[in-house]
Amino acid sequence: MSDKSVNFANDPEAAKILIFIKDGRWRKARDAAKELCKRDRARYLDLLIQANVGLAREMLGKGLLKEAETVVAHLASFAPAETVALLRKEMAVPQGKRQLEALADSGGAGWWMAALRADEILMQQGNISPADQAAVDLLVTDSFEPDLAGGEERVAQLAAELKAVRNACAATGEGRWEEAKDSLRTLPRQSIFWQWRIFLRGVRCVFEEERETARQCFAQLPATGTLARAAAALAPDLARSTRPAPATAKIPLFLAATGQPAAWAAALLTATASWKAGKRIQAFDDLAAGMRPVFPSLEPGLPAMLTDGILPSTTRMSDDDWVDSEAMFARFGNQRKKAESHLQKAVLVFLRSMCAAEKSEMPEEELDRCWQVVIKLWHENHGPDPLRDSLAWKWLGDELARAPKPRFNIFGFAQTAPYQNAEKALKAYENATAADETNESAWLALASLLIKERDTKKSNPLLDKLIKKFPRNKAILVLAGESAIARKSHTKGSAALRAALALDPLDRDIKVQLVGSLLVRIREARTKASASTGLWAEIEPFLEDSPPRGYELLSRWMARVRRSLLDQDQAAASQAMAESIAMAPSDVIRLFLAATLVSVYQTKLYSGWPQDWKAACSSPQHTWKTQLAILRLADFLSAQPGWGVKQMDLIRKRAVEAVAHLVAPHNIKTDPTGLLELIDELLSLRKRTAQRSVHVIGMVMREIADALFSQINPATRKIDPRLRLAYLIFAEDYSKKAIKHLDAVIVDAETQGFQAAAARAKAFKKEIEDNPGGGPFDFLEDDPYDEEDDIWEDDEDEDDDIWEDEEDDESDEEMPHPMETLTEAILAGDDATIQRCRIALRKRGLSDLTIDLAIEVISEGKKPRTQTRKIPPKKPPFVDPLQENLF
């Protein structure tokens, strides 16, 4: 619509009509304009047209389509054809869209009108429509200048506010913060531009790192508006918006804001469109075409980030990525023949990331070939760099030196693939050391691989050379020490390890190596019947009173136990024994260690050991911690190098048996925290251990469960919540009732300050909720006497087993209802049948304790007393002749 109102500046009647038009009082404006047209049609016709157009649009806005049609039909008789056509077009679109499209097409003047309308609404405490607010926002970013001649004061005020906001925008865009602040200082709170003031303050805070203020500012903006959209693009972690800013707006902004060339905008826009359409290779091509020669790139910068992002060679490749990757690989392979520099670069970036991402998937020969191309292209494109080449060759060596991947036969069974890459890996390491002689890690890798390949002719001189070349490299010294000790060159090995220890005196791993080496020498000295006093003295500085878990070889009391068993000097051995008794955490643990080591050292236990063991076991001072310590000690012993699977199982079995002997039901209520710890340890051990030991652990757990079930009621809140938790863990009850009990346990544990127990109960509750109907462990389902997995089956020295149950080999005849038969036998006093029932019940998984209790209950009709549990007869640990290489 034309804006001819300027012609009416000095015409009060026309000005009056203009005010009507501005206020949207279309009928009054039309009637007044009609009157004026009668006087001078040519001069006032435009006002009449404006009034009629406004009236028609108002009717359209109200849904009065017929009335609007009448007005438009009348308008057609005197208005220009294009005005009428526009109105008819507006009438053809749905009502909701009509106002907005008209607004969008109306340009600066229309937005100014919308701003005036919004101002009016705001003055009347009304709400501005989103469309009007969008028009106001567009007005701010437009260059339209409203005419103020003859206007009201309010109009002039609004125009001044608009100018101030525009100034503030320009100042903010250029980082002139004070000017921006000054421009908006006088903006009234009732202004339709008030949100702009908040937004611009937020933007300033983003740039000035005042994040909290920025967050508060952006939080005040309507989430669906223009300004929230802009704020979310500028600071996505500070602003909320339901809609993102368009790419056409963001790309030029971010390029400008990060100092990148504006010319890249077109390429980025095209590539973004291709990417969104799923054409990822096309996106690569778009960037390559629009950002040549900087894309693709390996140099830090936006082009390199774009290269990394768009290439399919990433750590997580989807099926589509694979397809893209193969397509690009094939195309680069063909184009490379052209030998153009940008293609060379593209091949380099693609191959580099492909090799790095797919190193574990690519066949070794393919990786070897491709990576050598990468090294060559890098050299050609970026010039020589010894460190780079050395690192690149070392990486290739590492990848080739990895254990070969198992191959699968046609039945799907894994087969160990022959190790074929050692030669190539050695070559790569040699290239790495040749490229940069100071690359210590490459030398170390080379030496390690030679040792692994048992190429002592090369590895030994190389290690000697490396020790001289890098005397302060701990890893090289340790490798040389370990290698020498493995070759039984203990003196040379100890010297290298001591040099390494001098570099890092706190390194316990080196101390363990040294103590191990000294123990081997002590055992050799014992075989040769030569003195070992000096070697024991050498061990002494490395010993600690309480070494952390995993370093038990450094334990002082254990060293004393070893000496008591190994030292040929009887006086020194006795002295060591006396010291070990004083230092050991408990007699039971010490005796257990001695019995275990005897089997390793092939010596004999002293004659009084069984009596000592019996006395130690019957001591009332045992706590759960004693059992826990035995289990941990067994875990350490079975983890020693040189130990076979069978021996490891045996150690664990012995330990668990020892623990089983120490389970004292009458003490079940003492030290509940220790009990929970023991349960966790047993569960953990059960996961790690072999099948045959699992049954033994299951037996121990049954013993504890029996005691718990007979003494604890989980519903009784007076009982310690830790004991109730232990009960619930063993009960394997995954019902709602159990969850209810656990809730009570959690509350009571927290109230009583048992935070660890509360956390354990919460974890257990979650486990129940995640596995309804499941169980944490299935020890109650295991049959320890199942002949398939009989724990005693592989014991080669059953005759020597002091813990052997004398009833084990008795009859195993079928008994359909052993408990009923037992009841009848007890009532009849038939001891032979009772004995057979006992065996039958044991086969069904019941422990001796449970059977004893059952017999007691049946025969006496009293509540069982758990103190009556029998301690099975004990036997000395067996001596395994295969344990030659230990300690």
Partner: protein, 108 residues
């Protein structure tokens, strides 16, 4: 995250230049106030501390996932300290784009 871009150093920067860039960023993004940025800066410094580290990163780094050009540009712009005032014209053009998008969306 490209550590060279985070620290704003070139590939041939010396150890001293890397350290200096790291210290400047640390002062600007102290861990107690800006833990997220501090983490990014710390990781970037670890990856570029020595010449060998810098080369290692350039040779062997792998992108964790594929990102489109626009997302990459946004990630680049939102690296600590990367975003600067874009200039009056670019800022106005950006705001106009946002306003047009809002209006278009409302008319749908």
């Amino acid at each position: 995250m490209n550590p060279f871009l985070v620290l704003d150093v070139s590939v041939d920067a010396t150890d001293e230049q890397v350290r200096s860039a790291y210290q400047i960023l640390l002062r600007r993004y102290p861990p107690e106030h800006r833990p997220h940025e501090f983490q990014i800066i710390q990781e970037a410094y670890q990856a570029t501390r020595t010449a060998a580290d810098r080369l290692q990163w350039r040779l062997f780094h792998v992108q964790s996932g594929r990102t489109g050009p626009l997302e990459t540009l946004e990630n680049f712009a939102h690296l600590p300290g990367k975003l600067k005032p874009p200039g009056a014209a670019a800022f106005r053009s950006f705001l106009r784009g946002c306003a047009n998008a809002t209006l278009r969306e409302q008319s749908k």
